[in-house]
Symmetry: C2
Subunit: 377 residues, 2 copies
């Protein structure tokens, strides 16, 4: 039966990290608990929803937690309730002691709270990924890859593979990241600083979004490990496991056009605002599209809703070459695409009104995005 | 058919004020619109949900709106949609022009948006309250009265009169404000600076909360007018109408005890935190109560939940007199009561474990609160 004392604020921070893997709506009731494992060298907090598992280790050698261990052991506690109780305690000094029948006594200031826990043997075995031969990635770079691609993954389960982001490492250093929901696509290709072995995996976009929330910017690098159907992102104290999606990711390379008939350069912010206006009215139309018209060196956007009204405006352009064109598309895809472009200017490149068009931030050859038009009459 | 130009940001601010009265879920579809009335001297924006109506006048004499009127008229527009469209416009200069078939053209920068409106004759007649003989109140004082009492009103419609706050003006200057949901009560009595005629009304607490949101602190005073079943709060540019609740408010004066057997003074923050801890566990008990025990000059709080555990703690007290006592109550009522006490210390006064106890901030004789205990075995 374990016993330890710890700084409340540090403990809470670790609890909230692990909580990100825990869902109260899980079909497996035991997964609403978190596991505390107390050993001589430190404590490990564990949470899982079956898809993602997070382990946060706190060492007796760390200074801030002020962790002192009196006896080892392990216990399961209802995660949300336990975290609420810990955060309600009056003092930053916290003593935790397991007593008979898997109960836990928390002492802090003059408060004494006794909570009923569960036997840790009930907790399922967490994913295991062999930690050999890691790929070393900068957290900042990885989070940027995620924010630039994961939004384009599908949120619908009709084609499960499209709910993931495709990560491929070629030539030991070239990392390609692609997501598509079949209406739009976002692909980023970068050269890594460290070499790694070839891999080709599809990571659930939801897991990647949680990864972004868990690994804060203070964690400079993560080690990445792959196993058959799962992977592990590991920093000094945090291990983040996720299942991988099974199946073949579609060949997206062939979708990306190389030659175009018209190209327009816009200011990112002003195009985005114009599309937000268009979206207000396109939301009230049957096919939800905006019409963009390039004619006589002028670009206009146009939406007509029989119910609510119409918007008609000339779009400011910075540069413009090629053939006249009228193309319809969902303004929401363009808005979301523009959100991840860091440059001030964006180039839209068109082949025809029935072929996908591409977006690229000026002076950015790493990120390319694709939007499929909607055929209208 | 009206035509005017106005500063977008000022116009939006007025639109958002009026929007507070407008519900999209109203049973009367026309109440999801807002009315724009354009006259020679300015424009009036009007919104209503049948219970509350708000009119915001913008004058051509005000400097900030930059209002220029070219033609008068009036029109109804879908409130939420119209506000979203206005806020999406690119330039701060905004031209609005009514055209045929109740349509409105908005021009801003290079954008031109046409919206379908409705004939203003379809809009219901707004409440009318004669504006004679006003009671002049400081906005700050009125908002304080509301925040200290309205939370104690009932949120349940089983006794509609208890969903309101009872306002009574006696002796021309003594304003009494009371709310109770029959489990707890909050009463504030103040002396007004300006005299007024006697009134005795019950104002829906929901209306008062909206009043607080609409009248910001820049509005120093409001004039208050009463009619048969409605009232009006009026500042220079804003008129806020609300229906009154009909029926007799219970006689609450007789509920408030004057003599006590035990009195305990606590620090407000530390008592509140202790009750928040107790609530975590009392939420998991059958009757949802915490037990407070005064014995041998020590005060303890105690909750036992067979499912999740127990809390047992000694409460810090500042002063303590009277008989020993054990009393059970819903900690949520005490937490909400403590939230509105501005003093650092609070005095709880008890008669017995079956009689309501009172709360008073130290050196505050204006605000008194009452909490009814729960009988337990």
């Amino acid at each position: 039966m374990f016993q330890f004392s710890i700084n409340k604020n540090f403990f809470l921070q670790a609890l909230n990290t692990v909580k990100r893997a825990i869902s109260t709506k899980n079909a497996i009731p035991i997964l609403s608990t978190l596991k505390i494992e107390v050993a001589a060298e430190g404590i490990t907090l564990i949470g899982s929803n079956g898809q993602i598992s997070i382990e946060n280790f706190i060492s007796i050698d760390q200074e801030n937690p002020g962790l002192v261990i009196d006896a080892p052991g392990s216990l399961l506690l209802e995660a949300n309730f336990f975290i609420n109780v810990v955060s309600s305690l009056p003092s930053v000094e916290l003593d935790l002691k397991e007593i008979e029948n898997h109960q836990l006594i928390l002492k802090s200031g003059k408060s004494e709270i006794t909570l009923k826990g569960k036997d840790s043997y009930q907790y399922p075995r967490i994913q295991e990924v062999p930690t050999t031969n890691p790929l070393l990635l900068e957290t900042k770079v990885l989070k940027e890859l995620i924010s630039e691609t994961a939004f384009a993954a599908s949120s619908q389960e009709s084609r499960p593979i499209l709910t993931g982001v495709h990560f491929v490492l070629n030539d030991q250093k070239q990392l390609k990241t692609v997501a598509t929901d079949s209406h739009r696509l976002s692909q980023k290709v970068i050269q890594l600083e460290n070499v790694g072995d070839h891999f080709d995996v599809v990571i659930p976009s939801r897991s990647l979004k949680e990864f972004t929330a868990v690994f804060d910017d203070a964690i400079e690098t993560v080690k990445v490990y792959f196993a058959h159907n799962q992977m592990l992102f590991k920093s000094e104290y945090i291990s983040f496991y996720t299942r991988l999606l099974e199946g073949n990711y579609p060949d997206t390379d062939r979708l990306i056009p190389k030659e175009f008939n018209s190209q327009i350069t816009f200011n990112v912010a002003s195009l985005r605002q114009a599309m937000e206006r268009a979206r207000l009215l396109s939301n009230a139309t049957e096919n939800g599209t905006v019409k963009m018209e390039l004619k006589d060196q002028i670009v206009r956007s146009y939406v007509h809703s029989p119910e609510v009204g119409q918007v008609d405006e000339e779009l400011e352009t910075i540069h413009l070459v090629g053939e006249d064109l009228t193309i319809s598309f969902n303004p929401n895809y363009l808005i979301e695409a523009l959100k991840v472009i860091k440059a001030e200017e964006v180039e839209l490149s068109f082949i025809s009104h029935i072929r996908p068009f591409t977006l690229k931030g000026m002076e950015d050859d790493h990120l390319i995005q694709l939007i499929t038009p909607v055929r209208t009459n």
